[in-house]
Assembly symmetry: C2
Homo-oligomer: 223 residues x 2
């Protein structure tokens, strides 16, 4: 009973996700659904990325939070269009974005003329993986402070992702984190996963991240 | 419609949570529901705590994970009773424990003779706050690597908690984290919140954490 309710809800979600995808495609927007645990550095990576893209690609952001607009305010300062979704009407807040929320947010950003749209999901390694938003690619961040075992403990997230960003590499000397083991765990749940290693503080690895984005845009243009 | 389904599910949960609470009370167990984002250090804090309590208080653990038993295996090595709950049957896994899962786990640990039961919830700062498990106290961990804004972005978790453990204080010199601001944000959403500052690596602040646990047990005995 509980399962069939959930199944129906997810089926309904997929119908709306298809509409989102049509809207994004109609405007030629490549859409990245950025997911991670709380505090892994999604907003900081977006700040760096939006600055680096400035003048080369036009990007917009759909920002998902349980409450407030702290992250959207940070990103709006960079002069990019940002639409805020708050998930809080239901019992402390939904822990993920769904396609309907994104659909309702679309009028708040002008898709026309945008090359890239980043959707910053609610900080959560579980449920966001199950909800198609109409994006082209899912990306998961996890930081070296979180432990190597995250891909094994939250496998669906890593299975769904096209790219994993291992963030906060600058903290590596100070934490008992084995990069090789984390990579092995991530590839065990998703052998196709691209992995980039970044430090937004040191500006390390960001070129590889931009390279991933460019390769996705090229692949999209060629399709 | 969606709201009333959720409301009914939460009401049903509360009925089972009351049964859990009766079972815990009947055995004189004080129960702590430990919650945080993935990778904030719940299991490491539990390892330290179980070692420190050894010979003084008898403790058991109910371990919640989407998949696997990595954390339960770590804790079982300390010779304490551990019951594992996996939440994965539904679409990638439930992102929180509910009272029914805990109820089904109870036969796997012998409550009789236990003073304390720790429930390690699924790593998630959103939904676990909404599900009463029959615990006596909710405790939230967050680490200095996650940013000061977590209490404002996940307010229900901090409103529900009796104690917040600010973890990984050893990393403070390496991250742009303002402790005073984090405390101000946490107290803004919950003025009654007790806050302890820990480093499991340096064994710092753990006495304050044990002091919190002892005060809870005394308050319980006096009631």
């Amino acid at each position: 009973m509980e399962i069939s309710v959930l199944r129906n809800v997810l089926d309904a979600n997929d119908v709306i996700a298809k509409e989102n995808r049509k809207a994004f495609d109609a405007h030629g927007c490549f859409v990245v659904n950025l997911m991670s645990a709380p505090g892994s550095g999604k907003t900081t990576l977006l700040e760096r990325t939006l600055r680096a893209l400035d003048g080369r690609l036009k990007a917009g952001v759909i920002e998902g939070d349980v409450q407030g607009s702290l992250d959207a305010d940070r990103l709006a300062r960079l002069g990019v269009p940002v639409a805020q979704i708050n998930t809080d009407p239901h019992f402390g807040g939904e822990c993920h974005l769904d396609a309907r929320m994104v659909w309702h947010a679309l009028p708040a950003i002008e898709l026309d003329g945008l090359d890239l749209v980043f959707i910053e999901n609610v900080g959560n390694l579980v449920c966001p993986a199950s909800w198609d938003l109409g994006e082209d690619a899912k990306v998961v961040l996890f930081s070296v402070t979180e432990g190597e075992d995250k891909p094994l403990k939250y496998p669906k997230m890593f299975q769904q992702a096209r790219c994993a960003v291992l963030s906060k590499m600058d903290l590596l000397p100070h934490v008992p984190f084995k990069v090789e083991q984390a990579v092995e765990f991530a590839r065990r749940v998703n052998p196709e996963l691209e992995i980039v290693f970044t430090s937004s503080v040191l500006d390390d690895g960001l070129e590889e991240w931009y390279g991933f984005l460019r390769s996705q845009l090229r692949r999209r243009s060629a399709a």
